[in-house]
Amino acid sequence: MTWKHFFTSSIGKKLIMGLTGLFLIVFLIVHVGVNSCIFVNDGGETFNAAAHFMSHNWILRIMEIGLFAGLLLHIIQGLLLWKKNNAARPVKYSVNAANANSKWYSRSMGLLGTLLLFFLVIHVSKFFVDTKIALYADGGANDASHNLYNAMKEEFQTWWVVVIYVLGVISLFWHLLHGFQSAFQTLGINHKRYTPIIKAIGVGYTIIVCILFALMPISFYLGWID
């Protein structure tokens, strides 16, 4: 069995989805943690210090490459699986009572993931790219004056930006609700005593992370923080 054979088998592909998914789940903890610094409500001082650390520490900047590699792998593998799984049933059922045997969000991971991909394109172009331009363009001349907190505050004054972000978080919610526990099953962890705990942690994680993310644009828009 070659490595290629192993990772291109149906179980190998699932393994890639599960591992990259768990990796992204860990990343979201860091992301939501740093962003929650806005709730200190000190005009962005704490948040900007945290953001500055995240974008200047060289270990984190190397890890950032790993993050994008993991994200790309998750996206590409997911889209390939979606295509392959669709092709496995060329003639569809004319009547299919799928809700009787499974949850809609479990069956819609491809769709939810694609919505998240669209959201990520908007999200990255809004904040990530600007930070990188300030960091590298003109030898970093604008780096010191770049204020990510003010950029966020400004973006979230527009109602439709807030709506896009909330919709993005809703997609994330359903994606995580299935994905968290599904990753453990893929890794072969299904146990009478541990699985209920894993599922409960997954639900708790999903609710907390998504509420915190959704609160960010909403708080700025409604002026709860300034």
Partner: protein, 254 residues
């Protein structure tokens, strides 16, 4: 339970052969007893069609007592119909009311080509079994039952996995047409018992390779398979197969 008769409208998939395109035909059946099985209702309909000189509906069946795994109908959007942990042959007409319209389709999967009407070719399952679903022991007299000590828990789990009848409802119900529940039941059954140890590694690798070759989709853990399985095979078998595959795939030197 009170007995009653019913008149029904049936929309049944008719397809001449694997290559021909199929379509739904509508049939009327009268005075169907609530005590009939779903297949007996089809027998009545076929008698009627033969008398009228029409082509009867082809459908798979054998034991009609829920253990052979031959019957395979997708009824009103559910594999094996509306009852859970049940095969079509054990589905009784009391599940329906007078005047109901029932839609009947074959299992739909690229790996299960339609042979005729509601009959699909499940040879893919046979080829997966031939790839590793066996043990290499010499035949002869049955050994004494207690010669090989086996943990009660393992024996029970293996037995539950072995109750899979290979009907293909898991593939039919899965949105990805994945055969993971079937293959994992067969892998688990043998991996849990001492007789299955010699081929434990090669078995899971070969059976998964054959499963992939047959064109089944990939599992996304929706657990529709478990919900529709007439024998209630647990998805914990899929987790076990994932473990077996990881262990074998990472440790093999071949």
């Amino acid at each position: 339970m009170e007995h009653y008769n019913m008149n029904l409208t049936l929309k049944v998939w008719k397809q001449k052969n694997t290559k021909a395109g199929g379509s739904f035909e509508t049939y009327q059946v009268k005075d169907i007893s609530s005590e009939m099985s779903f297949l007996e209702m089809f027998d009545v309909l076929n008698e009627q069609l033969i008398t009228e000189g029409k082509d009867p509906i082809a459908f798979d069946h054998d034991c009609r007592e829920g253990i052979c795994g031959m019957c395979s109908m997708y009824i009103d959007g559910r594999a094996h119909g509306p009852w859970t942990k049940n095969t079509v042959c054990q589905l009784h007409m009391r599940a329906f009311k007078d005047g109901d319209t029932i839609v009947v389709e074959p299992w739909r999967s690229a790996a299960f080509p339609v042979i005729k009407d509601l009959i699909v070719d499940r040879g893919a399952f046979d080829r997966i079994m031939q790839a590793g679903g066996f043990i290499s022991v010499n035949t002869g007299n049955a050994v004494d039952a207690n010669a090989l000590p086996i943990d009660k828990k393992d024996a029970d789990t293996a037995f539950n996995a072995a109750s899979c009848i290979g009907c293909g409802a898991c593939v039919a119900a899965c949105k990805n047409s994945s055969a993971m529940l079937f293959v994992s039941a067969k892998v688990s059954q043998l991996a849990l018992l001492p007789q299955g140890q010699p081929e434990r590694e090669s078995r899971v690798l070969n059976m998964v390779a054959q499963m992939d070759k047959e064109g089944f989709g990939n599992c996304t853990n929706t657990y529709a398979c478990e919900a529709e399985c007439p024998k209630g095979i647990s998805v914990s078998n899929i987790a076990r197969m994932n473990r077996e595959y990881l262990k074998a795939g990472l440790s093999t030197e071949e």
